[in-house]
Symmetry: C2
Subunit: 304 residues, 2 copies
């Protein structure tokens, strides 16, 4: 059992408990990716392996004044091949984390899903974002705010499994999972996501979801605020202390994620999970710090 | 044109520009409602008119140590009649704001929608929450996070009209409206809300939405962050400076609202709009401060 209060606490945790993870980054030619890899190398968290047009990467770093000391390179002059070559390094065990640089996300995902050189595991891919959560006093995982658009019940179950595995790898042996909705009761007629939420709870109660302790439907406040739990008189194993928040749709997840980032100013580490290795898929609007924290989370949950 | 930077700036604004609004509150027997009415009376914003079991209200206030100085009363011993009697006071012009105390919301809404004594206007009711928005440096209206569950296109248009009217009454003559989604492009196949968003923009461009300047679909960050607008290269009249954020579903609205409240610690004033008078429908988990700010917003937008 480990105990972290904030996302940034992952940094000393990873640095102290393991060797640097080799991170294969596809086309790190932007300031944020290069800075993030630099920070991760300096912190002893990652060993950057830059995949792409080596002269272009070096020129970009020089222009930006970012040292590439300690970086390894795989020179891939053909831009169309960068995603595949970076992915294959992870496939072959020469890196344990895959990271997107300046490529389009779909190019990297296409390589990840390739049957030969990809990272297919037979499971679905989902995005897990670990956020600082002031009302909880510990980070909370939000999923899936990035990949699955309108997941059906079976996909939602896979999303729960993926996030549960991440939290287990962070040392939380029985993660508490809130399936979010706008209300706490099942409303068949007008809120179908509440039925999904209750069914996932039942499936978990039947022992089909491993160590996950699931409760749903729950509104966000009931999932994270002990005070709201008291006023509303809510009961259950997850109320007021969720480790994982499962959003009903991509829109609610996207708005949630961006509300915490832009209105709340809260830190976040995100990773794509469900392949044979973690993938850091940050967006072009993410800061170097967010990308660095994504690398840190990926290193924390990557296999040996 | 008025200019407020934070929701709390509504308080001096309302106090200075108008006489106290008479607020008919149905069954104010809880600490938060009574405190909120007390604050509103002390600030010169509202003249409380407590409707319900008068001895019970007085006992509650005494127990809580809250002075009822300046309160008027309509003694309604029968609990079943409180909602109707409070609503009728507004219907008859004896109060300009209706407020929920300890009654169930649906009881009060039932009275509001009554054909005889209610506050029907021929329009739909929608919830508008004015929130502090750090990335914008001004409050932003979020709608509808409270009433309309899965609004179709025509309801979304009514929701936009309602929020536009609120912002106009606050002095923003051409409010900028972002119709939120997870992306900025129309994706017919998998994200139907993006089509709604684009259609609402087109309807506004055709002059059918009054003074509202509408753009959609927009992701939340593109609607509120000038920095994201720059990085993503977004253009349009609303990007980076929205006055109104229209959420696609009740789930996304509910999660957004609660993320700002519980994770962001941001202040909010909410009101139900679309009836002949504003209705303050706060939840039992709201603090007295939130209820007070709701009264303040209602007073600001109520008719003379």
């Amino acid at each position: 059992m480990i105990c972290i209060k904030k996302v940034e606490d992952l940094v000393p945790l990873v640095r102290d408990r393991q060797k640097p993870a080799t991170v294969a980054c596809a086309a790190p030619q932007d300031a944020e990716s290069l800075e993030a890899l630099r920070m991760a190398a300096d912190e002893g968290i990652a060993k950057p392996l830059a995949v792409g047009n080596k002269p272009a990467i070096i020129t970009a770093a020089e222009t930006l004044g970012i040292s590439l000391e300690g970086f390894e390179f795989l020179d891939v002059p053909e831009r169309d091949e960068v995603a595949e070559r970076a992915t294959q390094l992870v496939h072959d065990g020469r890196a344990s984390v895959l990271m997107k640089g300046t490529l389009p996300t779909r190019q990297l995902l296409h390589a990840v899903l390739d049957r030969d050189i990809g990272l297919r595991s037979g499971r679905i891919l989902s995005h897990v974002a670990l956020f600082d959560a002031p009302p909880l006093g510990k980070p909370v995982a939000i999923t899936d705010a990035g990949v699955n658009i309108n997941p059906n019940l079976s996909r939602k179950i896979e999303i729960v499994k993926n996030a549960t595995e991440i939290m287990e790898r962070l040392g939380i042996s029985r993660p508490k999972v809130a399936i979010l909705a706008a209300v706490e009761d099942v409303r068949l007629r007008d809120m179908p996501v509440t039925l999904h939420a209750k069914l996932i709870q039942r499936i978990a109660e039947a022992g089909q979801l491993g160590n996950a302790v699931v409760q749903g439907p729950l509104a966000l406040d009931g999932a994270v605020s002990p005070e709201v739990v008291r006023v509303k008189g809510l009961t259950g194993p997850v109320v007021g202390r969720a480790d994982i928040l499962v959003v009903p749709t991509i829109e609610s997840g996207n708005i949630f994620y961006k509300a915490l980032t832009y209105f709340g100013g809260l830190e976040c580490a995100g990773v794509l999970w469900g392949a044979t290795a973690p993938v850091v898929i940050t967006s072009r609007t993410d800061t170097a710090r967010v990308k660095f924290l994504g690398i840190t989370l990926a290193a924390a949950v990557a296999g040996a």
